[in-house]
């Protein structure tokens, strides 16, 4: 891919982000514009900001990659990411705003009047935030590698440095404008190229076999294998090989591969003929990192789909950077309107990545072999359109992808740094916020450099699972159940969130390996860990009836009564 346009585009996005963040609101007004100067953030602007912060690398790159590899089953991801806001709208949005809480630990304290539960919630915010930051940094690394062949870790380091510097220097003062700007940037960056791609597809005679199984090559294609892989063939396949297959070296040899498994060494070039089916690839090194991609469609159990649905539906409400944005709404009703607008904006956005995934299956099916299917969105413009137009569109997509990493990463970093400063580091103050910012970014950066290669959408899914099993019970029961007690909340978060976290750790550590029944349970923990969290919270609360915090009734009344009524009651 031609990087002469892409790099300026990425640089432009970075500079624009920093500038909007620093100067978006540095406009002084005189008192005659008082009503302009002190206008609260409207639901639509706030919704764009929330969407901008929410649409991460997983949405921008990951979904297309998943659809490319595994077909339409993966459409549950965008559905889940969107539907999470429906649950948020119905159960949480308005009461959460009325609680006056800024962060999730604040909510825990406001509802349960317990410092211990507050600290526990803070620990989970940091955990979820780090889990979610990891794929952002990896996505950045991937994007930069695809664009410039830079080493894997460089993109992550760039995003980490830019975000840490702007957040720590207080450059995210007008964060609502930055994030709203990022949303429209991301939408444009996917929409405009998608229009051209669809036009090209029409021009090609609108081939409709996108989801035929298996995907086939539309034309003769040379594939370079970057990592050693195993190919699994159902029937014999003829390819031209330059490199090493099954331990034997070939140079531009036509080779007939028999049905069965063949080992391909890294650096090998395979030339597939037009119409050849894309063989199924099995990565030999560290393949078990990828719970959803490593398994083919048939092996992916129905259970996994349900786990995914539950995690995304219920996990959204516990994402630290999303919750924080609701504070900007002036009151509960505005919070609800904002959520409705978010549903619309995110729904519109999520129509696009599947388009890229489907076109990717048609035009770039070899991405499943050669390396990262997550790169499909970045490569398609060049592949389908080519020339200067393709390069420009590719640059636009690359800029949008960087906007995705920057906005989500900066939102998460601020949320995590806020919790670290308030609840973990000894004393408060501006300098400590800077220290917190560095700490918030350093851990996931170190992890991403150490770990590498975790598929973007999977890592995000794991963060959702942990959030769904710890914060969803806390929020839903905290808002709707008056008998919740501090010990119950703490136990529920520990058991639900802790078990999900352990399952995540086990999955990332490669235990218990492919195929085992236990593997599916651990890779998609939400289906058992969410009910476990709820159950523990309810049972322990019922067992400690004496610990219901005094004033629960008035706290719940404040959560649920509209503000107008409240002021009449207190007047």
């Amino acid at each position: 891919m031609n990087s002469s346009y892409a790099i300026p585009a990425v640089a432009l996005v970075v500079v624009a982000t920093v500038l909007v963040g620093a100067f978006g609101l540095r406009i002084s007004r005189t008192t005659s514009d008082f009503y302009v100067a002190s206008r609260t953030v409207g639901p639509r602007l706030n919704a764009a900001a929330i969407s901008g912060e929410y649409l991460s690398a997983a949405s921008f790159l990951g979904i297309a990659g998943l659809v490319l590899v595994q077909g339409p089953d993966m459409l549950w991801y965008p559905v889940g990411y969107t539907a999470g806001y429906l649950v948020l709208l119905i159960f949480v949005a308005a009461p959460l705003r009325r609680s006056g809480a800024y962060t999730l630990p604040d909510f825990a304290e406001a509802r349960l009047a317990s410092q211990a539960v507050r600290r526990l919630a803070g620990a989970f915010v940091v955990g979820v935030g780090w889990l979610y930051l990891l794929p952002q940094l990896q996505g950045a690394g991937l994007t930069l590698t695809v664009l410039t062949r830079a080493p894997d870790w460089l993109g992550g380091v760039i995003v980490a440095v830019v975000v840490t510097a702007t957040v720590a220097a207080g450059g995210m003062r007008s964060i609502t404008f930055v994030q709203a700007f990022q949303y429209w940037l991301k939408l444009t960056a996917l929409l405009v190229p998608a229009l051209f791609l669809v036009l090209t597809w029409q021009h090609d005679g609108a081939p409709r076999h996108a989801f035929d199984e298996p995907a086939t090559f539309r034309e003769q294609r040379v594939v370079r294998v970057d990592d050693a892989i195993d190919l699994r063939l159902d029937r014999p396949l003829t390819v031209m090989v330059t490199g090493t297959v099954d331990g034997r070296t070939h140079t531009a040899t036509r080779l007939e591969l028999t049905a069965g498994t063949h080992h391909i060494e890294r650096g090998t070039r395979l030339t597939f003929t037009r119409g050849a089916p894309v063989p199924e690839a099995w990565r030999s090194g560290g393949g078990d990192l990828s719970p959803s991609q490593a398994e083919s469609r048939e092996e992916r159990p129905l259970y996994a789909t349900y786990g995914l649905i539950l995690a995304t539906f219920l996990g959204t409400m516990g994402l630290p950077h999303v919750v924080v944005r609701f504070y900007t709404s002036p009151h509960g009703v505005a919070a609800r309107r904002t959520t409705v607008a978010v549903l619309g904006l995110i729904g519109a956005f999520y129509l696009l990545p599947p388009v890229y995934g489907a076109l990717g299956r048609l035009y770039a099916p070899e991405l499943t072999l050669s390396g990262d299917p997550d790169a499909a969105v970045l490569l398609l413009p060049d592949r389908m359109i080519g020339g200067v137009g393709g390069d420009l569109l590719g640059a636009l997509v690359a800029g949008g992808a960087f906007a995705a990493f920057l906005s989500t990463a900066s939102g998460l970093t601020m949320a995590v740094a806020g919790v670290l400063t308030q609840d973990v580091l000894p004393s408060r103050g501006v300098r400590h916020f800077r220290l917190g910012t560095v700490l918030a970014m350093a851990v996931p950066l170190a992890a991403s450099v150490l770990v590498g290669g975790l598929p973007v959408a999977d890592a995000v899914g794991l963060a959702f699972a942990v959030s769904a099993s710890s914060f969803c019970p806390l929020l839903v029961l905290g808002i709707w159940w008056r008998r919740l007690t501090p010990p119950g909340a703490a136990a529920g978060m520990l058991v639900g969130g802790g078990s999900a976290l352990l399952a995540v750790a086990a999955t990332m550590g490669g235990y218990p390996g492919e195929g085992a029944a236990l593997h599916a349970l651990l890779a998609w923990p939400a289906l058992w860990s969410v009910p476990l969290g709820f159950l523990t919270m309810i049972l322990v609360s019922l067992a400690t009836p004496g610990r219901v915090p005094p004033g629960t009734a008035s706290v719940l009344a404040r959560f649920h009564l509209p503000e107008e009524v409240r002021s009449e009651v207190t007047a």
């Binding site: 609101l25 002084s28 007004r29 005189t30 008192t31 008082f34 100067a37 002190s38 206008r39 609260t40 953030v41 006056g100 800024y102 604040d106 304290e109 406001a110 009047a113 620990a123 889990l131 207080g170 007008s174 964060i175 609502t176 560290g286 078990d288 990192l289 504070y327 900007t328 709404s329 002036p330 009151h331 601020m414 806020g418 400063t421 308030q422 408060r428 992890a447 150490l450 770990v451 590498g452 975790l454 802790g498 976290l501 352990l502 995540v504 750790a505 086990a506 999955t507 990332m508 550590g509 490669g510 235990y511 404040r558 503000e563 107008e564 409240r566 002021s567 009449e568 207190t570 007047a571």
Partner: protein, 404 residues
């Protein structure tokens, strides 16, 4: 390999957290053993027990606080039973012989009347009752008897009488402190009420005079100003809720400034720079308006009527979990030493209650970390910074007034 590392990273975190927690727990339960001679050790023990009994009593003498402290007090005295009463009945009985409750109350009347301690033998039918003697020590606050501490023992003992007297005196001191706490809270409440009712009378005279001057020349303007005046006074006289939102406070400031500008014309210019993210922040009612009033006063003070111009800058920024409000003027400034004494209440400021009261209220609501930060020098203007946490337990705005 890298997968293993990833698992390790995630798996190690909870272990680390657990380690930190355990470390803090064990560090807290520091043993006093091996510290000094046995006598010193005993002293430490006694002081420690006394300090444990103190906190509940700081909330006054009620059934709940008595229950919480009675066991500690009993172990302090080392008796079989201990009872705390108020003037009308037994609040708590800790230890054996609870069937003596009524008898004690009957025989306590004299002691509660005179405020003098006494000891008497208890009549008891059951042979295995270990409680035979009761030592009564009254609890007095400001020479008024609030209740009594009764220590019961199997036999009469001068040591017990002495000890009970001392413990009762110690408890009395705690109750006096509770009384002080209570009056301090009431004082602060009264002060807040006083401040909120107290928009400066000068301001009312001046505003009315300005409005009067426009009545003939520009009736429309006079009408607008009267409405501003009405809005401002309605806000500052409202009765419900101790807290408001930054948006509402800024609106009140806008009304205030409209009136001030009518008086000073273009001698006063104000610029605003407000991040919309912080407008929903909750803050104590009328805690920024006095600061703006102060800036106006200082900005125009000591300047000739013709040449004096003053610029005021009001900034509200988003800073993570806090909002940062800065009010800056380019006026006469103030000697930092004098300012320090004003804030410490050593001198009363020339024109009103402004700064020190706002400072007190902020500290009271948010803690001592959140007082006013004032940067000033003579002739160099003044810059006041207020940090407002976005969330603080117990701080809720009274909500939108109906109809807005």
């Amino acid at each position: 390999m890298s997968g293993f590392l990833a698992g390790l990273c995630v798996g190690v975190l909870p272990v680390l957290a657990l380690g930190v927690w355990l470390g803090r727990r064990t560090a807290r339960a520091k043993s006093l053993a091996g510290l000094g001679t046995p006598v010193e050790h005993a002293t430490f023990e006694t002081l420690h027990t006394a300090s444990l009994a103190a906190p509940p009593l700081r909330a006054g003498l009620t059934e709940e606080t008595a229950r919480k402290s009675a066991r500690k007090l009993r172990s302090l005295l080392g008796t079989d039973a201990l009872c705390l009463t108020d003037r009308t009945g037994v609040l708590v009985w800790d230890g054996d012989g609870a069937h003596h409750r009524d008898e004690i109350m009957d025989r306590l009347a004299g002691a509660l009347e005179t405020g003098r301690g006494e000891a008497f033998r208890l009549t008891c039918d059951s042979l295995d009752c270990s409680v035979r003697w009761a030592v009564v020590a009254p609890l007095t606050v400001d020479d008024r008897v609030h209740g009594a501490l009764v220590a019961c023992a199997p036999r009469e003992s001068a040591v017990l009488v002495r000890a009970a007297g001392e413990v009762a005196r110690w408890v009395s001191v705690q109750l006096e402190l509770a009384d002080l706490d209570h009056s301090r809270t009431r004082l602060i409440e009264a002060e807040i009420k006083a401040l909120r009712a107290q928009i400066s009378p000068h301001f009312i005279f001046n505003s009315l005079a300005v409005i009067a001057s426009f009545v003939r020349t520009d009736p429309e303007r006079a009408r607008e100003l009267l409405l501003e005046f009405a809005d401002f006074t309605r806000y500052s006289f409202r009765r419900h809720g101790d807290f408001t939102t930054l948006a509402e406070e800024l609106h009140a400031i806008d009304h205030y400034l409209a009136l001030v500008r009518a008086r000073f014309g273009d001698r006063l210019s104000v610029t605003l720079q407000i991040a919309p993210e912080v407008l929903p922040v909750t803050l104590p009612f009328l805690c920024l308006q006095p600061l703006v009033e102060n800036a106006v006063k200082h900005g125009l003070e000591g300047k000739a009527v013709s040449s004096g111009r003053c610029h005021i800058q009001i900034t509200a920024q988003d800073a993570g979990a806090e909002a940062l409000v800065v009010i800056e003027d380019d006026g006469a400034g103030m000697d930092p030493g004098l300012l320090r004494r004003i804030l410490a209440r050593e001198v009363s400021p020339s024109g009103g209650i402004g700064l020190s009261n706002v400072d007190d209220r902020l500290r009271q609501v948010y803690g001592d970390d959140y007082g006013l930060v004032i940067e000033t020098a003579t002739g160099a203007g003044m810059k006041i910074t207020v940090r407002l946490p976005k969330y603080q337990p117990g701080v809720h705005s009274a909500g939108r007034p109906a109809g807005e």
